[in-house]
Symmetry: none
Subunit: 192 residues, 4 copies
DNA sequence: TATGAATGAGTCTTCATTCAT
DNA sequence: CATGAATGAAGACTCATTCAT
């Protein structure tokens, strides 16, 4: 059983995905959430103020997707591929919403929260890299905190490229993914 | 002297930066542009349809900033640093607008234009990498078209991190930039 | 031909009289004024902000009623009766609206304007008393400016009493009016 | 310790004074009264239905103020001055609320209650005048019931003028009060 | 009695769009 | 081409009222 606030957030995610920020009416959100119009305003003062809560849910989803994909008993290189696969897959599903949330936050002084919200994911990747660094699988000169952000930035932007390309004949997801993997492994200084 | 269409585009950039997409009214744009309400419709059918024109201006500015920074007689490694510097600098100035334009295009059917608009910049970077590849400064296995996009994605997302961090004590632009440069050079397989 | 602002003010007077402030909708006003909903907001930011303009019109009406009733060639005593008759008649028609306007102004920081708006009427009564004072019809010790306000206050509040009484058996307009006239003449120190 | 009904009435007085009728919400009243939203409806069916109870409290206060000021062993003329002083003082404190209550009653069908509520005060003034009439201090032709209302109407409206004037240089409370006293004494036909 | 979260009808308010000048 | 007052459909938002606890 979800409480009303969670219902609103989840409904908002669906409606924003479906219609975009501009065309989403609060009445659409409440209809999907199965609550009354006025109830929305007990929890959020405006449409855009739902954004930070959405961002949190999205990062939770992304992390869950990554964790579900990774086989911890496999080699680092395999796990790396699994992480990239998961991010590619998640990003292609949610890239539009992610852009909207980002823009929504950017236009309302909430942008600093983006950092906070993404933190758990950065931490997880940091930890992932740290273990590889300790076992000597990746180069020792790496700063895992900073690199975790480069990692995510690189893979997500690469994944977005695929989306933009998906109607073109000269490229496809797999080739792009291999290119990223290669670039990433070299950047990380992998030895395996 | 700017013509009316240019006035609209430049006014729209200012207003979008100031208020975000959602809160920007056409009346704000025309007020700043110093033209009449009705005149807007002689040039654009809607608020969001100005976005592609804004994106063009933005990419022009970004390319101009990069070109101005690069010394073509310097070594590839030096030029690489100059390119990264220019993108960092540009991104920190325009990152909000960039997110808005991206989201604005994403929320309509204009998203494919993003690709078209960014193309000249991708081409320039491709060419830049191609020359380095020919001279053997970077690894031969690289696909310059695809890598140009990874390159820009990586550097821009790294630059955004800096912006988000700029009030924190534990990181600073220079350290972050060095980390990116290192990652980038390894990813490109630079030999110098 | 009335301009739009005047149309709004006159429509608002009618609707406020008919329904009271609370139950008046802006849609009622614009419907009666024969203009579009949005047009209202080009001239007034809210329902209550029409009040000062209404107050002005009301004072104009009251003065016009008084002037129309007074026969300047008659004796002062006769003219006095005519003034009182006119105020009684006007007040009984508009007393509810007057209370509403007064309360409306009082609750919105506009109350100081009440003074300004009533000024022309005070001036007219002052002048009326001044002439009587010069001809020696009323006592010399009178300050006409201040007394003009006492005069209007006394007569209007007496007129309101009548309204409150009109369903009672023990009083009627004429008796009340005579009592006021007597009180007033003594207060003014009339000699005739 | 106040009971809940009294809490509501006193909270309503404060809020109406602060915000005016229009902008006062029941939620404001209950918040200030420190009770729950639903509790309001156990005592009053609507916002405006609190008005008669407020009016009662107001008249009680006004009478108490007058009685406290009057020295029954003094001469009539002195007592008259004391009454006027008390009304001036009370009116300047509560004039806004008085206008609101009046308008509030006027805009519903409660207006007739105004009469009822004010009755004790009218009676007191009537009695006060009656005694003076019997002792021959004021003229015999006076109808004390009707005149009590003229009396209060005159003094209260004069007091409001002072309030409106208090920022002006050309008038002040004392001069205005003297003018009223003079007018009043003549109207009453005082001999002393 | 008392509570206060939830409701949703009723209004306010905005703002893209039009069109006579 | 250019204007900007006027429009009114669309949606945001409020707040009196209810009712399960």
């Amino acid at each position: 059983m979800m409480n009303k606030k969670e219902k609103i957030v989840h409904a908002a995610i669906e409606v924003f995905k479906e219609k975009g920020i501009e065309k989403t009416k609060i009445s659409d959100i409440v209809k999907l959430a199965g609550i009354a119009q006025g109830t929305f305003y007990l929890y959020f003062p405006s449409k855009l103020s739902v954004m930070p809560a959405i961002a949190e849910v999205m990062v939770e989803k992304e992390m869950a997707a990554v964790k579900a994909q990774v086989d911890e008993s496999a080699s680092f290189s395999t796990q790396l591929t699994q992480v990239v696969d998961a991010i590619f897959s998640f990003t292609s599903d949610y890239r539009e919403l992610q852009a909207l949330v980002y823009a929504g936050l950017a236009s309302t002084e909430h942008i600093k929260e983006w950092e906070t919200v993404y933190q758990p994911f950065y931490s997880w990747i940091s930890q992932f890299l740290q273990e590889a660094k300790i076992s000597g699988v990746i180069r020792h000169s790496i700063n895992v905190e900073r690199t975790s952000k480069l990692f995510i930035g690189l893979v997500e932007s690469a994944a977005e490229q695929i989306y933009l390309y998906d109607s073109k004949q000269d490229g496809n997801a797999d080739t792009q993914k291999l290119e990223v993997m290669d670039f990433l492994k070299r950047g990380l200084g992998i030895r395996e």
